[in-house]
Symmetry: C2
Subunit: 333 residues, 2 copies
């Protein structure tokens, strides 16, 4: 094995190599139970992950990952459902991955998502799954790219990556998508708030939901004005569209899908897609390196050498920074 | 220098070596402005810290660190003030370090502490300071031991380490003390809640405040029963006393100080004091190692080798776990 589980993770029996291969094979054949099991293994951070990840890497699919983010109350769940519906009418297979970076436990909002998604229950072209951080720092930076790899290998055409909230981690998870939709609604998260939350940088398409509510036009105008002031993007720049929807009545989604199509084409032409996927892999690598360092440090802390060094620092016989430098050295040996 | 500031820390001009020596010398001579300046440098995580830390390590004092923790509303600030008063009557010089692990910004609770501490304003034997985490993960695990070292070198007899809240980080900071007082009050944080929060393990002395309120006796009885069921401590075990105070009227503090004295004597006899100070240094070393890894990783991420590796992972040409292993190798080179 050579890889121990993340500290805090319940110790699990390892799968045998043929079991991993079978599981990956079944998932790639589109068996949703196998997909679900793999996602659980990814979420739990089991010792088998290096083997699973390597097996999945050999089976790349063609999924386009669409990020969906916005403040609570803008209608994110109904919008996700309407988007799923629109893609299903095109015949695409769709997976929804709802991620909650702020809650260590599976929160109420995600449960709500699952319940509302029940309009797609029984549709075998739709797969819905939520994932929480389980209190592990950086857990989602590792688990999200790995979960996307599972869903990609399983042959989904579209993966909706939905995040709850608009904190920094939500924006960072949303930034892992190939195309990011930012949802706003009149009275909830206007343009200025979106800018403050760093959503202006991360949005490829702005969607103003609840378009029939008073104030929707104003939100659209504000956003367009702010976008026209945004001179940061150079070269073959993408002009972020601002669209209006009414998620409850599934109105406006043809335009949203067209905008996503245009962004897909633009990303392919400009190389933006490789750039983003490289960035996503970079987040994953960063998280894997940190997790490995945490494991090795936890191992060191249980040992006599660490205790002796700490005792020397406590007794004033050793300087903490020099001791830390020596520890870093032994982390790699 | 060799040490770069923590990412996210505003870049500061380094002090010249003679300035650091002068600052440490002035602080050790008891100049409170120098103490205050050193604590700011510790809190900000400036590049000079290795030099400051080494200079301080050569000047150990004799401070006893008393942790003070408990749920909001139990009267932590008035208790801190009453304790300061009791130690001042003994002629001891007292520093109060109020730490808020949960708030990235200096919060209202800490401001409140400072205001209430004004009864000691003008008393040059009392020094009050609050410290927040400034949003840096693990920041307080590094900064708290370093701040304690400053206050120790500055010659204080007693350092009150006060934490706000009863989350896991609060308990962990409280556990850095030589003697930890856990405050409870009728109706606020009963014995069962204290046990759940992990306070039973961390408490050396239980103080039930608001002793004249109905229900205080019940809290005392509950705690004593729970402590009698606690069979974990073996050897020369410390029998955690449960005392009653009325902080507003400064009642009951002779008994609290006596209990602390007995704990100091017990800690010295059993070697518990070295054990705790070694643990505190271990927390500091852990935090320093992590901070150094974070810095080096941030450096790597800006480079071409990292980008190339991430691109290989994104393109399925490289397995993320093997790539992460190679990155860990280059972290040390």
């Amino acid at each position: 094995m050579g890889v121990t589980p993340h500290p805090g993770t319940p110790v699990r029996r390892s799968l045998r190599a043929p079991d991993v291969d079978k599981l990956v094979e079944d998932a790639c054949a589109g068996q949703l139970r196998a997909v679900s099991r793999l996602l659980s293994l990814v979420e739990e951070g089991v010792p088998d992950l290096p083997r699973i990840t390597a097996a999945l890497a050999e089976r790349p699919g063609h999924a386009h990952v669409i990020g969906l983010t916005g403040a609570p109350g803008v209608g994110k769940s109904t919008s996700a459902s309407a988007l799923v519906d629109a893609y299903r009418r095109r015949g695409a297979r769709v997976a929804v991955l709802a991620v909650d970076p702020s809650s260590p436990l599976s929160g109420g909002a995600l449960l709500g998502d699952r319940v509302r998604m029940q309009e797609h229950a029984g549709d075998r072209g739709v797969f819905v799954r939520s994932m929480a951080s389980r209190g592990q720092l950086g857990g989602l930076s590792r688990a999200t790219p790995q979960a996307l790899r599972v869903l990609d290998a399983a042959g989904f055409d579209v993966v909706l990556l939905e995040t709850v909230g608009v904190g920094q981690s939500e924006v960072s998870v949303a930034g892992m998508a190939d195309t990011t939709l930012v949802l706003l609604a009149p009275g909830l998260g206007d343009g200025v708030q979106a800018a403050k939350a760093g959503l202006l940088e991360v949005a490829d398409v702005f969607v103003v939901n609840k378009a029939d509510t008073p104030g929707a036009e104003q939100v659209v105008r504000d956003l367009r004005r702010m976008l026209s002031l945004d001179h940061r993007r150079g070269g073959e720049r993408w002009r972020t569209p601002v669209l209006k929807t009414n998620a409850v009545d599934h109105e406006g989604y043809d335009e949203v899908l067209e905008a996503v199509d245009r962004h897909v084409a633009w990303s392919a032409t400009t190389g933006e897609i490789e750039h983003r996927r490289t960035r996503r892999a970079g987040e994953e690598l960063d998280a894997l390196v940190r997790a490995a360092v945490t494991r090795r440090l936890a191992g060191l802390r249980g040992g006599e050498a660490f205790r002796r060094m700490a005792a020397e620092v406590a007794g004033g016989r050793s300087d903490p920074y020099s001791a830390a430098d020596r520890l870093i050295g032994s982390l790699l040996s």
